[in-house]
Symmetry: C2
Subunit: 592 residues, 2 copies
């Protein structure tokens, strides 16, 4: 049945050969040597394989149940959650002042990957807590931090994000949830929030809801939105739990996947809430959570594709069907394993060449975020903010596509639930939707990020690609296999940017009609850049006499595949973009 | 909640404006005038909307249950099945000698579309019966036809196809099910078949299983496979039901979707079977079923995308979120409907421009099949056989993609089951797998169909495209918007064919590594051809003073979108194909 082994060798390759984490001049990075990261990731992989993986099907099959306001998580989730907490996995990059281990964010992200691959629904309970931790950490008062963070670091208390209401998701300006100021400085929160992941459950003694609401009399629309802490149980001054607050779960949703996570309708009925940061500036704090969450969602996309890929490879190696058209590869058996067939290879290579570059891109962005936070490097911050919608949108789109592609390797066995492949596709599907549907990511990228700080960050990105190509084009092999295709793809991307500048001025629809294509184009260029850099790293390891030549040769072959067979997509996206808004907007709404 | 209206206007446009069915010199076609087809399709649409659609969610939620060997279908399926039978929908194109209505196959296909859109799982019970009918009709003896067909025409008895075994799907040569000859001319069938759709259920008094099995002592592999009729209840000479045969349902599968259809493990334990056609020639008869079934699966692909699209349009028109970036379109409301946003449009146009051409392609192929059967036109037969894997593979791939895209329009509401969008995606997913997984369709296309009859049919296809372009390029508008892009795409497809010829000779892997891309390329060229022809038809209707100018103008705008924004994909596929087998086959199996 489903299996999973953390791809430790590849994770190590990205951290050290590609990103040279221990050599970065970022506080705390010098201790991230190969032995240290290996030790951490091995343990994370072990927990994933031994504890979380067996619960993945259980979570999918049982789902969560709501009875008399109490949500029960699937069998075994509570024990696993205890092990997750006991291992300190929830606290890795949290501030030691609040009980964290103070490790870099990149270590948190890398350690999360096996958890997400092996049991995405389960891992969301701690994942959302981490995002809520970040919002309070960066925007809360000292008292709020002291009150909530130590318990959230350990996941004794978990966290949630409450944005969506029945009539508003993307457009939070339409929000109706109200926060009425009280004399003691607190607020009374009333309203209904939907799609609240881990909104209610039995894994923690308290749940700290972060809730967006409007203070009556404040500015209209999105500028009148504030952020509040609304604990399930109020917290006494001594830190003990007080009375139950006026918040309850009205319903849990039946969903396509992630059944192990409780997706709740949350009702706030004059619940006590505490303002986080300034009044009416709630979106700023919420974006702290969202940006982190978006990177995590990109990781979910490729991490689901990773476990699906691993199982597809196992099946393709095991399943005997047909013969290699050139010569039997398993002449003593009744048939050859299906991995001999070129189209099965094509499918597996598509998956593998995506996955490894997606991991590299995500880890790279995590390092940029560390650099931004710890060295106040504004360029790193700008680049991370440019990459975030690409990582969220492109990696979740492709992650789903490849989970579906892996399912296809199984034929009919992929469609029945018995083999687990359906679940990876169903679970991965949500990553394209939540934390801002991917169309919104494309809008964020084209409508905001491209022009941010005068276009400085996208120009910096192009400059980085250009100088990498320039610095390395003396290597003829690298040039042919990697740099030339990257140059062509990057040129397409620039041409699209130029088109947006020229035509978007005339009519913004010309840019927005191509935003989704641009997001995918930029995703390809990012993965192409990662492959070019990984190829350089692999060649340099081989030149340096690395013993594991097979690993590095495989890396190079996988990269060549991506450059040759995936990057040509940029020309198609450019052609689509350059048609502008006219064909897209040609119809009256009534004629659809 | 979910809604569906049969797209009668568009169906009529395809049948009459595009295909001119009543003007075809095919026996039985002259009666297919506009009034007649409108009357039939209106009734089919009515049954779909009023009876089948409300049961779609019921089927998904309840699924089928197996208890003591008895399979129960979801609540209401039995009544609906009675209405389906009473309306004569199961018998439309069946032979009047066996109780059928003798209508052309195209009428059967067109009438099926609303059934498939509104309830795919339900419609499979009759769909498979129809395929089993065809196998017996074309390959059975007169006695077999007289015994089984009248009851199968009415669906009093339903049919199944039994190919797959636990260890063999694509490679049927590995089959273990045995058929031992008896003195009375019958056979004793023993073995296990899996993934048998409608294998056991409570909708019919008898089930006629068509079973592939090997007669001991026959040729090895696929050449030793024979086809048998194995009725659930043996049939007495007077046509009444005799004793229960040795066939039973061992299990029903839990699946990703089509829960309303029972997917059975069928155990044959010395069951009585009757040879259909010649011994060891079972695959030929099975291919009669398969080819028909494959066209039906292509229809399933786009028909699921159709209902998903209709609901996405309704939601996009209804849901208020954000403002048109240029100018508010709903200034008196709190926000604009999301259909104003260019990226939502882009998504809906992708769907619409695919759907309408997919319908045209499928109906065209059905007419070719009618022509082949009724006039013994070998070219029509060859072209239909060339198009079949494209229709099955490309339309089911894209149909699933667009069902997913439609789900995306709903944001979080698309992921919860309440709105029904998840089901369309989950149901559509199977179409990529069954009746030969899409990789097998690509193999069939490139490995068999391209070279069939000396490459005559693909050459004929290219010739048809070329002469259509030539005949119409005096129309400057048609030329710019349709013919030029079609010419470019067709050139790409030809270049791919040339590459296969040149490089496939050296190593067949060079062709097979590009087979999937070729199938998609050819799909795009086919849809491009359909759009060019539909554009011509629309222009000619407008020139002829058609009253419904809005419909025809919309048709033209939708076609222009496809040509401008979808056809450029062919260049990407060509680039991928021209990399050959080297990047695809670079890795040792152990290095995946």
């Amino acid at each position: 049945m489903p299996s999973y082994t953390a791809p430790l060798k590849d994770m190590q390759f990205v951290l050290h050969d590609l990103l040279d984490v221990s050599g970065q001049d970022i506080p705390g990075f010098s201790e991230l040597d190969r032995d240290f990261t290996a030790a951490v990731l091995e343990e994370s992989g072990k927990l994933a394989t031994e504890v979380l993986l067996p619960l993945n099907t259980v979570g999918d099959t049982e789902g969560c149940t709501l009875e008399n306001g109490v949500v029960r998580t699937p069998t075994g989730f509570d024990d696993a959650f205890e092990q997750m907490k006991a291992g300190g996995w929830t606290a890795m990059d949290c501030d030691p002042d609040y009980g964290g281990q103070g490790l870099p964010y990149i270590m948190h992200m890398a350690a999360q990957e096996p958890f997400v691959s092996s049991n995405m629904a389960f891992n969301m309970y701690q994942g959302l807590t981490h995002a809520a931790y970040a919002a309070i950490y960066f925007h809360g008062s000292d008292v709020q931090k002291a009150t909530y963070l130590p318990k959230m670091t350990t996941c004794e208390w978990t966290g949630t994000m409450n944005l969506t209401e029945p009539h508003c998701g993307t457009d939070l300006g339409l929000m109706r949830t109200k926060a009425v100021p009280q004399e003691d400085g607190s607020y009374r929160i009333s309203g209904q929030k939907i799609f609240i992941s881990a909104g209610e459950h039995d894994l923690a003694e308290n749940i700290i809801h972060l809730v967006l609401a409007k203070i009556p009399g404040g500015p209209e629309g999105i500028k009148g939105v504030s952020l509040f802490i609304v604990p399930k149980f109020l917290v006494n001054e001594d830190g003990s739990l007080g009375p139950r607050n006026g918040v309850s779960c009205g319903k849990i949703e039946e969903k396509m996947g992630i059944h192990g996570n409780s997706t709740c309708v949350m009702n706030y009925d004059e619940a006590t809430g505490y303002l986080v940061g300034e009044a009416h500036k709630g979106m700023r704090a919420m974006f702290t959570m969202m940006n982190e969450a978006r990177l995590g969602v990109g990781l979910q996309g490729y991490a689901q594709a990773e476990i699906a890929y691993q199982n597809a490879v196992a099946y393709a190696t095991d399943r005997l069907q047909g013969r290699d058209v050139v010569a039997p590869q398993n002449p003593d058996g009744p048939a050859d394993p299906i991995i001999v067939h070129p189209d099965v290879r094509r499918n597996l290579m598509d998956q593998k060449s995506f996955l490894e570059a997606a991991r590299a891109l995500t880890y790279w962005c995590a390092v940029l975020i560390d650099r931004a936070h710890k060295t106040e490097d504004k360029d790193a911050d700008g680049l991370a903010s440019l990459l975030t919608p690409v990582i969220k949108g492109f990696l979740s789109d492709k992650g789903f596509d490849y989970a579906v592609a892996a399912q296809q390797v199984y034929g009919g066995h992929g469609y029945i639930e018995e083999w687990g492949m359906s679940q990876y596709a169903r679970d991965a599907r949500i990553a394209m939707i939540y934390e801002g549907a991917n169309g919104i990511q494309a809008l964020d990228l084209v409508g905001r990020k491209l022009g941010q700080d005068g276009g400085k960050h996208i120009m910096g990105f192009f400059e980085m690609v250009k100088s990498f190509i320039k610095e390395n084009e003396d290597d003829a092999d690298l040039k042919t296999g990697f740099l030339d295709p990257l140059k062509a793809a990057s040129k397409d991307l620039q041409a699209a940017g130029m088109y947006f500048m020229a035509e978007g001025m005339k009519n913004p629809h010309n840019a927005l009609a191509g935003s989704y294509d641009f997001m995918h184009m930029m995703g390809h260029v990012c993965l192409g850049l990662m492959w070019a850099k990984m190829a350089k790293a692999a060649k340099s390891a081989l030149a340096g006499g690395a013993s594991d030549t097979e690993f590095y040769e495989t890396k190079l072959a996988t990269g060549r595949y991506y450059m040759a067979r995936q990057l040509p997509a940029t020309a198609m996206h450019l052609a689509r973009i350059q048609t502008g808004a006219a064909p897209v907007m040609a119809l009256e709404a009534a004629n659809f």
